[in-house]
């Protein structure tokens, strides 16, 4: 989850550019200049008389090569279709929100909500579709029985699971699947992977009617 927040920060890129300028000044008068990203993880070489833009691009390209997973949000969305989060555009239409701070949102807020919510669910999608990320010892992932999270029916929990002899929540069933068909290790309820899996499964049942106890 930490990676997500790093990759998504546009500010991070700006930091690089700042670093690049510093590095150039210090590099002296040799033909080529070697640059190091400010986190010390990447190096790039550019001509000494290159413009700031070229320097920044050089470093950014290197950083991209070092982080092949950088576009995971776009890639995951392309691979595994996700239902879009709810449309909140009605909030922009004024009405009683006038003078009411809680209701004061602009288009940017809405975009941020949608993007971050979607990203949370997409992280779940990634885990859902990967035996490796699920910790499967038998190369089994959730999507092998539940394509697009079909037949997961999160809207029916809590319910009495007769095979377990008790009332369960969605996460109990997720853990049951992880321990049995997936043969991995069960997740704590607040484990980031469990939260992401729940987010994805709930997102994919958008529009279903809540109906706890349904069999």
């Amino acid at each position: 989850m930490r990676r997500i927040s790093i990759v998504s920060q546009v500010g991070f890129v700006l930091l690089y550019i700042a670093c690049v300028s510093m590095a150039t000044i210090l590099a002296g008068c040799s033909e080529q200049v070697e640059l190091t990203t400010c986190d010390g993880t990447g190096k790039a070489t550019v001509a000494k008389n290159a413009t700031g833009q070229v320097l920044a691009d050089g470093l950014m390209d290197q950083w991209k090569r070092d982080h092949p997973d950088r576009d995971w949000v776009t890639e995951e969305k392309e691979r595994h279709e996700l239902k879009p989060p709810a449309d909140n555009s009605a909030l922009l239409e004024g009405g009683q929100a006038e003078g009411h701070t809680y209701g004061q949102h602009d288009r940017r807020d809405l975009l941020l909500w949608a993007r971050e919510t979607e990203k949370f669910a997409l992280e779940g999608s990634r885990i859902f579709h990967s035996g490796e990320l699920l910790g499967s010892t038998v190369a089994v992932s959730c999507d092998m029985c539940h394509p697009h999270a079909a037949n997961t029916h999160p809207e029916t929990y809590p319910k009495f699971q007769s095979q377990l002899g008790r009332v369960v929540l969605l996460r109990d069933m997720v853990n049951w699947c992880i321990e049995h068909p997936v043969r991995g290790k069960r997740l704590e309820a607040d484990d980031p992977a469990m939260r992401a899996l729940e987010a994805y499964i709930l997102a994919q049942r958008s529009g279903a009617v809540m109906n706890y106890g349904k069999h």
């Binding site: 579709h129 190369a139 999507d143 092998m144 037949n151 095979q163």
Partner: protein, 368 residues
Amino acid sequence: MNKLKSVETRYMEERGKFFHDLKNLDRRSFLKVSAAAMGAAVASGVMPSHSFQSISVAQGSAAFRFAYISDSHLYEKKINDRFVRSLLRAVEDVNNLDAQPDFVFYGGDLAQLGQPKELELGAQILKDVKAPIKMMVGEHDWYFDMGQKWRDLFGKPTYSWDYKGIHFVTLNSVVERDFWTRRGLTPMERMMTVAGLDNGVQSPFSVGQEQRQWLRKDLAAYSDETPLIVFSHSPLYKLYKKWNFWTDDADEVQAILKRFKQVVVIHGHTHQLLTNRIGNIHFHGMLSTAWPWPYAPEGMPELTVEMNRPDPFNPNDGCGDGQVHVHADGLVDKVYSLWNRGPITVSKAYTASWGRQSVPPKPNRASY
């Protein structure tokens, strides 16, 4: 209790019970049972399924019978032995049919990731099948090396043969457009993409122009009266594109089959009870030995009576193998031999009457 008895003892007991039950039926009810309500009787547990099916053939309601196994999705044994054990179980099932089936059809997706070792393991297990075996290719067998290993082991994926008055055709219906070159995918990445049922990067399946042309030519010598049975891995119609329960050029293929009076298409890929009829073409799905798929959220054919939602606590539930009883006219009774459940028969009478007669039992646990 039954489990502790030997196969022979169980068989003799079932046989004895069957003949005992038979005595208590008058002739008219017997004919009714044997001809029309075979599946229903078996499913309701009136008679032990195993013996009943074999004996019904001996009674001669069908011209002949073949068995099927499909969608085993094998990993190497050291990675995952469950799918291996399931295929072994299916092989045991078909070998245990007394009065052996005329042949066994394998419906594709023998391997999970098209690895040579997976395909070799599958070929080795299938060698134990007593009856002659016919192979079909699935996308999981193909997209690691574009079918090279599969062809080495099993020969051409597209072929036809004649048997007891029926013309049989096997197609490779999982031809995908090249989505990998532009993306610079490795063979393994290409395979992983295709292996994900809900992976939207891959292309829809198709039979393709080359095979359609071959099919036209292959069928040219046969009159419209010839009964035809076609095998395809994906359903040869358009059900649900997002999971490739779909063949992109299905309309073109159906057009080629249209002139024949009687066509049956039997397909894999969907891992569930699935029935459809489009004009003269009757479609039946096959069960998987590995896992059942959920039903498509939209576009379900009207004729399909869904199977009960599988029990997640039973790794074999909703899986199985089955048999196809071929009648003299070329139409079939399709038997879904579900493991840990009674078998369900979708009879010739059901599809021939557009679902008005011999309706299979309805599920009481509908899918979500």
